[in-house]
């Protein structure tokens, strides 16, 4: 019967092209506005590492105290002293510190011209913790961390620029005047938002070119190219004084595989902060946090407020379009009350009439969805008018958004047709036939 209902629906839609066009346009414009803003919202609010987001944690220790922290919250990163202390304690199955660095590299084809290239100083556990996929080679090892080796992992894109995409493992690359040995090339991997660098760097900036050994960067006294935050004294005499300051700039991550490990690590943080208090370094009670990936993104307010607002406004617009569609469907269906009476007299049940009109609404929804897809594709170019460029670039029409657009259009229209179709199914055949 579905095919029969669909034939009847399409015939009915062709009979009133103006009414049909109005409904299709209402659905099309409504769904496209929602999908354009949703594509941005999805990119900024999704879980960037769903397979492990509940096992990866950011430890926070308050080294500023209640007078200087923000609303009782510990700072979003660690100073050098605490960061190194936590790593040395090694209380998690995997752990890493991260900070962004900016180095210079020769421009391909011209060894005399240098260009800036950005990456992250990380520890060996970074790669297995975050499931970084490799195209060639592997990550360096924990012993390489200890040896402070001059090892580097390139991104697929950087490897393409520097080595034409060939297997560069074992080759040397010179960055800011220092040689590094390529031990691996990571496959394209850039979780969005870039959760591991949310505090120190933009969550949506250009993807990194390389990952370099953190100890090596410290030895070379290469400072963070991202955010740092200090309280009190802001002038430092030399690198060592900077390292001993209360400025926070190192992003710690730990992997904890069970709730008992999480509880144990939290106890460890409490104990560490208490030790610092007893040692006189902290003049306040322990104030620590241990958030997983989604908790961390929430705390850092990664989703821009304009993304939520625009999604809410677009959804409201879609609802208004649907309300209008309800009215149009009601008018369209009830105009055919006489036909409904005849069908009921000839043996159609109320359910069959209901199904017939829901299928007809589904056809309207499909047409509205197709129009919505065209408008969504066109509207993607205008996302930059609403959002910052680095956010706007995240909006794109992929297979899942195409499917979602069509599904939302069809299901929303069918939902809008529940009442009009119900009214149609309630038509009393005797009244219709008598009135004729």
């Amino acid at each position: 019967m579905f095919t029969y209902y669909l034939q009847l629906g399409l015939r009915s839609l062709r009979r009133n092209p103006m009414l049909t066009a109005l409904m299709v346009m209402a659905i099309g414009f409504g769904v496209s506005a929602s999908m354009i803003t949703y594509s941005v919202f999805r990119a900024v609010s999704g879980n960037p590492i769903p397979e492990k987001s509940s096992q990866l944690f950011v430890p926070q220790v308050d080294n500023w105290g209640p007078q200087q922290n923000e609303k009782g919250e510990p700072p979003g990163a660690l100073d050098y002293i605490d960061a190194i202390a936590l790593m040395r304690a090694h209380q998690a199955s995997r752990q890493t510190l991260i900070y962004p660095v900016m180095l210079s590299s020769p421009q391909p084809g011209s060894s005399s011209t240098l260009v800036s290239t950005g990456g992250y100083a990380v520890m060996s556990d970074f790669f297995p913790m975050f499931n970084v996929p490799f195209l060639y080679g592997n990550a360096w090892t924990g012993s390489d961390d200890e040896k402070r080796a001059a090892d580097i992992v390139l991104s697929e894109e950087f490897n393409q620029r520097m080595f034409g995409g060939a297997n560069s493992v074992g080759k040397n690359i010179t960055l800011s005047g220092h040689d590094y040995r390529v031990v691996g090339v990571a496959k394209h991997w850039d979780p969005s938002p870039r959760f591991y660098a949310v505090w120190s760097d933009s969550a949506f900036s250009d993807s990194p070119d390389f990952y370099v050994l953190l100890n090596r960067m410290l030895d070379l006294q290469i400072d963070t190219s991202g955010r740092n935050s200090c309280r009190g004294r802001l002038e430092f005499n030399g690198w060592n004084q900077w390292l001993q300051s209360d400025c926070v700039w190192m992003m710690p991550w730990v992997e904890l595989d069970s709730s008992s490990e999480v509880a144990r690590y939290r106890q460890f943080l409490e104990a560490y902060a208490a030790d610092q208090q007893h040692a006189g370094r902290f003049a306040w009670s322990p104030n620590i946090r241990l958030r997983n990936v989604m908790g961390w993104l929430e705390e850092q307010k990664v989703v821009p407020p304009e993304s939520r607002i625009s999604l809410a406004v677009a959804s409201g617009f879609f609802i208004i379009c649907l309300v209008n569609t309800i009215g149009l469907l009601l008018a369209k269906f009830m105009r055919r009350a006489a036909e409904i009476g005849v069908r009921r007299a000839l043996g159609a049940t109320r359910h069959e009439i209901y199904a017939q009109y829901l299928v007809e609404a589904g056809a309207v929804g499909l047409a509205g969805g197709v129009l919505g897809l065209v408008l969504t594709a066109a509207g993607m170019s205008g996302v930059g008018l609403l959002f910052e460029p680095e956010i706007a670039k995240l909006a794109h029409l992929d297979v899942s958004l195409i499917g979602l657009t069509l599904m939302v259009a069809i299901l929303a229209t069918i939902a809008a047709a529940f009442y009009p179709a119900w009214r149609a199914a309630q038509v009393q055949p005797a009244w219709q036939l008598k009135s004729n």
Binding site: A345, G347, T349
Partner: protein, 240 residues
Amino acid sequence: MLKMTHLSKVYRTEVVETYALRDFNIDVKEGEFVAVTGPSGSGKTTFLTIAGLLETFTGGEYHLDGVEVSHLDDNARSRIRNEKIGFIFQAFNLIPDLNVFDNVEVPLRYRGMKAPERKQRIMDALERVGLASRAKHYPAELSGGQQQRVAIARALAGSPRLLLADEPTGNLDTQMARGVLELLEEIHREGATIVMVTHDPELAARAQRNVHIIDGQVVDLAEDPRFHTAYAAAAGQVRG
């Protein structure tokens, strides 16, 4: 085939109750051709819609083909309409968007019949009413008489045991009306039970049996004094 006992139909509003049928009794045997006559507003069409399960009744009993129908739900009533009853309306009630073939197909679709059998039945029904060559025409392209023959084909396609006709010639001229009546008589001769509501005494006279309704009740013309005034006046209106 069709038996109503002490049946009543009341339309209620907040201020008034109107009896469309009151203590209504009728028994139509299988294979009968019964004409139901009566003045306007006497309850003829209400009787027909209740007989066709298009409307529920307020009290009494109604047995259709041996089944008491008052407790049937919408699905069961729809199935009985689809399988046992054929309707012919004064206004034809063809669906204007569908061509002749598709109009005749409607009841068969709801029966869940396979396409080849549907096609065979539709073409047989159209052959029978002499409109096989017009299968692809739309109702607006046909005369009134042809439209009513399509409606009859639609009613016949499902091989119903009971044919309910409401003023089947009311919208037709004399010649077309005669053709439609001859078709109904032929269908009756082949064994169908027909109940026909009509204002036309001449048409009623062609049926096997006449049932007269006045004020929502079946009356015996010979004994009911109302007949001599009401029915004579109605007949006079029709003739006039």
